[in-house]
Symmetry: C2
Subunit: 210 residues, 2 copies
DNA sequence: TAATGTTCTAGAATATAATTCTAATTTGAG
DNA sequence: CTCAAATTAGAATTATATTCTAGAACATTA
């Protein structure tokens, strides 16, 4: 295998452990992302990935176990990338309203920065949720929304947020933005997500405001 | 093939042209829906569908052309079923606010009535949008939202709805509900969609209210 | 540094599933 | 009833995921 000729998106996975060999694993992930983005999950074959990554079937299966495993690994890498951007901004908020703005705006920003990862996450969600990694996914989502629920508690106590069924808050806050991003990523609408950051964060706030 | 022993969900596709032979086509769709719901799209094989439907490979390929074609046919049947419930209720509305309520409430109601179809639609969307039927899908979606945009125009003129980028309205109105239904259909939250109809229609209205 | 076990790479062989193809059967029009 | 078109059948083919075995690279320890 050659270490020259790395994919453009290779840098996305740098957070993983370092080392020459790990680099190859990351390279495969990166090439897989390109293939999935261009062809879709179904239409991308292991053989395609092997060829573009100048790797081998054996390597791919050694690292990921199966095509489904490769998809799951990429999904969690994407989730990490997203949370790495969002989490610090939410922690920097001073009031519930700012936390909501940070959540929405940073989410939109991430989608715009990483359209391939974002598109992949929306496409792969069901596969991962249905597969053997579903439990890991559930944990991750819980940790993802844990902090958000803290802010909501604070907001309710302060009389700024209305008391609603707790399982509805996540949808009320992110559903609109996610829906729009899905449309943008598939070309159905033209305006880039951050263009409408105001619109969406205002809508999210109104949805839960007292 | 036997015409006894029809699937429970067969009735869903009765709206298609009548006739003994068409019945078999509908029967295949119905069985396919059950398989997709139980196993997921990927894991369901044509052989499984053939067996449960007591049909043959030849018939399935004759009617649908490919697995992807079968998925697309089922998707459009599901879309029809959904619109058949939603459209009349929106037409019955007197004011923009009522139209929004009708849209949200009827959508939630449909999801609860047809969980298999709803789950399938959410899972299959990307496959259909990426496949050869993507154009048909785009047309359908346009007709789906056309009426909605009429109501919004009225609302803006009447000073009840604020003027926003037109491509954001659909997401602002249905994104939250869809996101919640997705979570409910995959078991991540417990409260049935209609339980929260008030919450979601209120949120949709607030999102666009002047 | 050499010995040795472990991880990784390779690609041929296998298994599984989608799709094609040809022939028989059923149906409906006239 | 006859014939053409539509439908049903399932065997053969093709495409793709996965397994398996062997060898190469690497790391650890004496």
């Amino acid at each position: 295998m050659s270490t020259e000729n790395l994919s453009e998106t290779q840098h996305l996975f740098e957070r993983a452990e370092p080392g020459v060999r790990k680099a190859h694993k990351r390279h495969i992930l990166s090439i897989a992302l390109d293939c999935f983005d261009e062809q879709g999950l179904e239409a991308t074959t292991i053989e395609m990935i092997r060829e573009r990554a100048a790797s081998s079937i054996g390597s791919i299966y050694h690292h990921f176990g199966s095509k489904e495993g490769l998809v799951a690994a990429l999904y969690f890498a994407a989730l990490d990338d997203q949370l790495a951007l969002i989490r610090p901004r939410m922690q920097g908020a001073a009031r519930p309203r700012q936390a909501v703005d940070a959540l929405v705006q940073t989410y939109l920003e991430w989608v715009e920065r990483q359209p391939k990862l974002a598109r992949f996450m929306l496409r792969a969600r069901h596969a991962v949720a249905g597969g053997p990694q579903s439990e890991t996914l559930a944990e991750r989502n819980k940790e993802r929304y844990g902090e958000l629920l803290q802010w909501i508690q604070d907001g309710i106590r302060a009389g700024e947020i209305r008391r609603l069924p707790s399982e509805t808050y996540a949808s009320l806050l992110i559903g609109q933005s996610e829906n729009y991003c899905r449309a943008w990523l598939s070309g159905r609408v033209k305006g880039s997500p951050t263009t409408y950051a105001e619109v969406f964060s205002e809508a999210s706030w109104r949805a839960i405001a007292a």
